[in-house]
């Protein structure tokens, strides 16, 4: 609905506020990776969040510097910490893309959580159905089924947006709840493995479909898959006509219409790819970690992915760095709790502060550094 210009209604449109109107702030196309400014803004935002969190810690009677030292120890300080961080970062690489890719066409998708769940369900169903297939084939098809399920899930939200004008942010948020409810329903009845009495979980995929760890590391192969997908997406978004078309659409919908870009197809493609990435994350959680679907899929991977995408300013390469940072923060959460008796939610507070600061920093986009006008 909001795409149709409300001609006779409001006067707000007379004051051009490009950052609100076209959501160009979202796509990153607004400041087409004005490298230095982006980096500066992100650094300022993270530093501000770190200061605020430090104040929060000090108010709670902790020494902020000691806490940050421990955070470093728990995230990167030892090989074990690093491996934990990488394991935590692996799914974030992919769930970030669920917000990132649609953002390039100007959509704010927050349905990563649901897509992860759908990916997990899809992977389990395929894995169980493929029971007797040889290992590698089974693994590939299982993962592909998860990606497909996630892609269709968010793709549906894209279709609702394009054909019916349903707000994609609201619809994907609500789809998260539907996905979780669907998971709970399935694992408590239709696909429940009743031999598992400890908790409600689905049937398990064959052991031969499971992917192990990268040799020499206790980090599973999902990390490598995530890295490759991020790189591939970066190439797609930055160096192909499709990616350029998405940027144009995200930057200015009317311009995209005028030059005859296939808007519907681009929207659906972006949503499908985003959902597929998150679905892939869910599928990898199944084939690398759990082996079966259960509530263990619902641990906020999708929501943290939103944060990663925003902090990376919708740049697929930067996602890798940011995922490491946030993976590290969550990896060290337990250590902080044990050493300082901080509340369980402390690292969530830090993540929330980072998110707020990044959002707030968008207000300074284009104003931080003097830039030549009329470019």
């Amino acid at each position: 609905m909001e795409d149709q210009p409300a001609s006779g209604t409001v006067t707000a449109s007379e004051q051009p506020l490009p950052s609100c109107n076209d959501r160009t702030w979202l796509s990153g196309a607004a400041f087409p990776i004005d490298g230095l400014e982006s980096v500066l803004l992100s650094l300022i935002a993270v530093s501000a969040a770190a200061l605020l969190f430090g104040a929060f810690l000090a108010l709670n009677g902790h020494d902020p510097l000691a806490v940050y030292r421990t955070l470093y120890l728990g995230a990167f300080g030892t090989r074990f910490s690093l491996e934990t961080t990488l394991t935590q970062a692996a799914p974030l690489l992919l769930t970030a893309l669920c917000t990132l890719i649609p953002a390039r066409v100007g959509l704010l998708i927050i349905g990563g959580e649901g897509a992860v769940v759908l990916g997990g369900i899809g992977a389990v169903l395929a894995g169980v159905a493929l029971g007797s297939a040889p290992g590698v084939v089974g693994t590939v098809l299982t993962i592909a089924a998860g990606a497909l399920a996630g892609g269709l899930w968010i793709g549906a939200a894209g279709a609702l947006k394009h054909f019916r004008g349903v707000n994609e942010t609201i619809s994907t948020l609500l789809l998260n709840y539907i996905a979780i409810a669907l998971l709970n329903h399935l694992v408590s009845g239709p696909i429940r493995d009743f031999s598992q009495t400890l908790k409600a979980q689905s049937w398990s995929i064959p052991k031969s479909f499971m992917i192990g760890n990268i040799p020499g590391w206790s980090v599973h192969w999902g990390l490598l898959i995530g890295l490759i997908v991020c790189l591939a997406l970066h190439l797609l978004l930055r160096h192909t006509t499709v990616g350029f078309g998405m940027d144009v659409l995200g930057g200015n919908r009317r311009a995209a219409q005028m030059i005859g870009l296939p808007i519907g197809r681009l929207i659906l493609l972006a949503c499908f790819l985003g959902g597929a990435a998150a679905g892939l994350a869910g599928a990898i959680e199944i084939v690398a970690v759990h082996g079966a679907a259960s509530e263990s899929l619902v641990v906020g991977l999708g929501y943290t992915g939103i944060l990663v995408a925003f902090l990376a300013r919708q740049n697929a390469l930067v996602v890798i760095l940011v995922a490491l940072l946030l993976g590290g923060i969550s990896a060290s959460g337990g250590l902080l709790q044990r050493r300082f008796d901080t509340p369980h939610a402390a690292t969530t507070v830090l993540q929330g502060l980072i998110f707020l600061c990044v959002l707030a920093s968008n207000a300074f986009a284009g104003r931080l550094l003097p830039r030549p006008r009329g470019a």
């Binding site: 120890l73 030892t78 074990f80 400890l198 759990h290 250590l335 709790q337 044990r338 050493r339 300082f340």
Partner: protein
């Protein structure tokens, strides 16, 4: 307060170095030969430590174990029953140098089985009686016969009830819930032969809304003492207090929640785990599976409520002495279930430590109104 700060400072200053140092060197900590050897003990809880329930019972034990000479306690709460607990356990071992881990949630067991062979220098203690001969020797399962303190609660309830109608709220249709219920009913009927007990199984470990509704419904039916076998009986006990009826606690001391109607409660004595810690510390012997009631010091009762008269207290304490001396047997003939079937013939006596019998209990004793919920 000063002690607290200095402890924190000490932790911040030295724990990092010790933790990182012992990890990097990969050597066993060969600290000064003064007895007793310092040992780091980790407690892992699935939910918050102050839940007035299962987790709090363990946290209370943790505090007592921390008093043992040479013991340094580290704690982490809200650890889900997923692969996450594996990471937390490894993190405690690798970063904090923990040598004994108490994984206090039932669903942590598979992850202990997985991790224990990798860390033979660490003792893994699980709150549950799942240990089998094939499991690693550096693991322990321990659990209390809660039906014994339930019997004592039943005595208090039977003597204090005006209507003779009691209420038992159970979480899952599992053998130990049935045993607890039977203990409660038999205790009540040992002092008041016409006492009955409404039994409601909610189906959830933790469902405060349902628990409150159940208490209200029971009160409306004339029930005037309840006991709730759920993860956190807080809501049930508070609701009972608000409705002006009496209640018994479960897991830990709940007397503070019901200053007027609290009678006593069935408590675990998880602090018995301190024996295992000391055995591990000194290289002494320890059992792999430890189950017991009062005689084995695995269970306890809460302090009596202020309105519980002396004669009731005496009757309860006398029965406790019976369990301590093993002169009082919980299950003895003649005994009928609540469908009229003879379970034990006259003269038939089941030992208080007959675990196979207790595991096989799928029935409720005479006087219990309601069904197990099993087919």
């Amino acid at each position: 307060m000063t002690a607290l700060i200095s402890r924190r400072r000490l932790l911040a200053g030295t724990a990092n170095i010790i933790g990182a140092g012992s990890l990097l060197s990969g050597l066993p900590t060969r600290l000064a030969a003064q007895a007793p050897k310092p040992i780091t003990v980790g407690f892992i809880y699935a939910a918050t430590r102050n839940d007035y329930g299962w987790n709090q019972a363990h946290a209370v034990a943790a505090k007592r174990i921390a008093q043992l000479p040479g013991v340094k306690l580290i704690e982490q709460e809200r650890v889900p029953e997923t692969v996450e607990v594996e990471r937390v356990m490894e993190s405690m071992i690798q970063l904090d140098g923990a040598k004994v881990l108490f994984a206090t949630s039932f669903g942590f067991w598979p992850f202990i089985q997985k991790l224990a062979p990798k860390y033979s220098e660490v003792l893994f203690i699980h709150a549950g009686g799942l240990w089998k001969d094939t499991d690693p020797k550096n693991t322990i399962g321990y659990r209390g016969y809660m039906e014994e303190p339930h019997y004592l609660c039943g005595i208090a309830a039977g003597m204090m009830s005006r209507t003779g109608k009691l209420g038992f709220i159970g979480s899952k249709p599992l053998y130990f819930i049935f045993n607890n219920c039977n203990g409660f009913v038999m205790g009540a009927r040992s002092v008041r032969s016409d006492a009955t007990c409404q039994v409601v199984i909610t189906g959830d470990w933790d469902n405060p809304v349902k628990e409150a509704e159940t208490v209200n419904a029971l009160v409306d039916q004339g029930v005037d003492v309840i006991i709730a076998n759920v993860d956190s009986p807080k809501v049930a006990v508070e609701t009972a207090e608000r409705r002006g009826i009496m209640s018994c606690g479960y897991h830990t001391d709940l007397s503070a929640l019901a200053p007027k109607g609290f009678l006593t409660g069935a408590e675990w004595n998880w602090a018995k785990g301190g024996d295992f810690v000391q055995a591990w510390q000194t290289g002494g012997a320890y059992p792999n599976l430890y189950r017991g009631g009062f005689k084995q010091d695995m269970v306890a009762i809460s302090p009596f409520g202020k309105d519980v008269p002396k004669n009731v207290q005496d009757a309860v304490l006398k029965a406790r002495q019976g369990f301590l001396d093993d002169t009082l047997k919980l299950y003895k003939g003649p005994l009928k279930d609540n469908k009229g079937n003879q379970v034990l013939a006259d003269g038939q006596v089941i030992s208080n430590t007959d675990n196979p019998f207790k595991l096989s209990v799928k029935w409720l004793v005479e006087g219990a109104i309601g069904s197990t919920g099993l087919q």
